[in-house]
């Protein structure tokens, strides 16, 4: 031991008693300063630019017309989602069926409604009366039981619901199918050898496991749907956006009213994102729920990323 020369002289401190200094990254600091500068400029624009007219924003933020539009936007979002999920489940089950007619029909449905933009569909459904002037329920080759003109059935609301729900159904069908198919065949076999029927296996074994896979993307789709509902303004359906448009067409306060709509969309999508994260944490049987955890995971979520139908510009 005594033969080995010890390199460090006595005046250096003990390596075990002090902490090393971290590596310095100049690019972090330069880049950070640059972005911070831009952020300051942007905030200054928000505060000082008089065209924003914040007083007008506050004036209209809780006006009855805007709140009524907000209510219609929420109603459209949830009705389209519920209708879309019901149709989507049927399409998914048809897609998994061994019946070739069911398979082909569900494939065509998904192909069509994923391929046609919702905006085109909305306009198309609204003008359905030009294609089919009259709808009737009748016994084939027999008497007509009930009939009505298509124009009286297709209101802006029903056209919007059809377009949005059908689009959603195509996406939901694929998510539900993928969720069911992700369950290992061994699970079904194990249930079968225990004497469980097909219905019992689906209800007790397959669906509970599939739901964990399906629910997060459905939550994501609900947030997308909230934003897609703004398309109905082309049908003059007074949703949140169209209510704002109606006001600024009278008052010419375009920017403040668009900001009112923006604020409400952000508030709603933030609430929906929090709800989605809450449900996701409940499904993962991980640690108990804490608001802090959910808020933290927000920053890692797809909420900030691209959603379907949003092109990278």
């Amino acid at each position: 031991m005594a033969d080995i020369p010890i390199k460090s002289p006595a005046r250096q401190p003990d390596i075990h008693s002090i902490k090393p200094v971290d590596v310095f990254h100049p690019s972090w600091w330069i880049g950070g300063a640059l972005v911070l500068g831009l952020a300051v400029l942007f905030i200054r624009l928000l505060v000082t630019n008089e065209n924003l007219q914040w007083s007008v924003v506050w004036q209209y933020l809780f006006s009855p017309e805007i709140l009524a539009g907000l209510g219609r936007t929420l109603m459209l979002t949830f009705l389209s989602m519920i209708l879309g999920l019901i149709i989507g489940t049927v399409i998914a089950v048809m897609r998994l069926s061994r019946n070739p007619v069911f398979q082909a029909t569900s494939w065509a449905w998904i192909w069509f409604f994923r391929g046609v933009p919702p905006l085109v569909q909305l306009v198309f459904w609204y003008n359905l009366g030009l294609l089919i002037p009259e709808v009737s329920i009748a016994i084939p080759f027999g008497p007509t039981l009930w009939s009505a003109s298509t124009n009286s059935l297709i209101t802006p609301l029903s056209a919007a619901l059809l377009g949005l729900a059908f689009t959603e159904s195509a996406y939901a069908a694929e998510m539900i199918r993928a969720g069911i198919q992700a369950i290992n065949l061994g699970q079904t076999e194990a249930a079968a050898t225990l004497g469980m029927t097909q219905a019992q296996t689906l209800r007790r074994i397959v669906l509970p496991q599939a739901l964990r896979i399906i629910v997060p993307p459905i939550g994501n789709d609900t947030i997308s749907m909230l934003k897609f509902t703004s398309l109905v303004s082309v049908l003059a359906l007074p949703d949140l956006l169209y209510s704002a448009q109606m006001i600024y067409s009278r008052t010419y306060q375009t920017i403040p009213l668009l900001i009112v709509a923006t604020i409400w969309y952000l508030v709603l999508s933030t609430i929906l994102t929090l709800a989605e994260h809450y449900i996701e944490h409940r499904l993962k049987d991980g640690p108990p729920l804490e608001l802090q955890l959910i808020l933290k995971s927000l920053f890692k979520s797809k909420f900030w990323g691209l959603r379907r139908g949003e092109a990278m510009l």
């Binding site: 076999e189 249930a191 225990l194 004497g195 469980m196 097909q198 496991q209």
Partner: protein, 253 residues
Amino acid sequence: MMPLLNVERLSKDFGTHQVLKSIDLTVAAGDVTCIVGPSGSGKSTLLRCLNYLEVPTSGAVYLEGEPVGLRFKGDKLYRMSFNELSVQRQKMGMVFQGFHLFPHKTALENIIEAPMIVKRKGRAQATEEAHALLDKVGLADRADYYPRQLSGGQQQRVAIARSLAMQPTLMLFDEPTSALDPELVGEVLAVMRQLAEEGMTMVVVTHEMSFARDVADHLVFMDGGIIVEAGHPKDVLSNPQHSRTRSFLARVL
């Protein structure tokens, strides 16, 4: 006496590939039958045909004299629906190579699921029986663990308990120790050994030759979709009659 299980001229094709070629096999009540053979010999397929997880191309399986998956009505023979078949499957427990425990349920919930849902037992009774079964497989303290919190050997023992909870007359084992780490094989074999001693009728597809030698009443050697040789394990293992049996045993023993 009528055998518990009777397999008659059972064949199975996958496309043009014939996996089983006219298999005949009988299993008496209380017997342990071990099926051994090289991979691809059709032994797992044979086991899966017994409870109709695979539908045989031709031939028949009789359980207690009743054809499995088929039913006569007058002169006509009909295939059973899935739900009719599920009644027969209750009598045949099955343990898989990959365990296939239900991952969203605890060990206890895995065991009480089928008795409650299929046999409509009350939760209290099912739970009491499940605790007894967990005790039997040496996992009394693991009732509330989820499958992912258990080792492979523990998962397989829960899977055995889950099958036993349906009080089957016959237990099928499909390579139950093949997915396990070597040090965990013993605990599963010990449970199976205990079951055999209690008189459970068992059909076991396995690579564990020592288990086959010590526990089996009947050893079946399969190769190329046929039963090459069958008999008492001591005879087959120490005095194989066929060259294919000899070359297989030379490789595994």
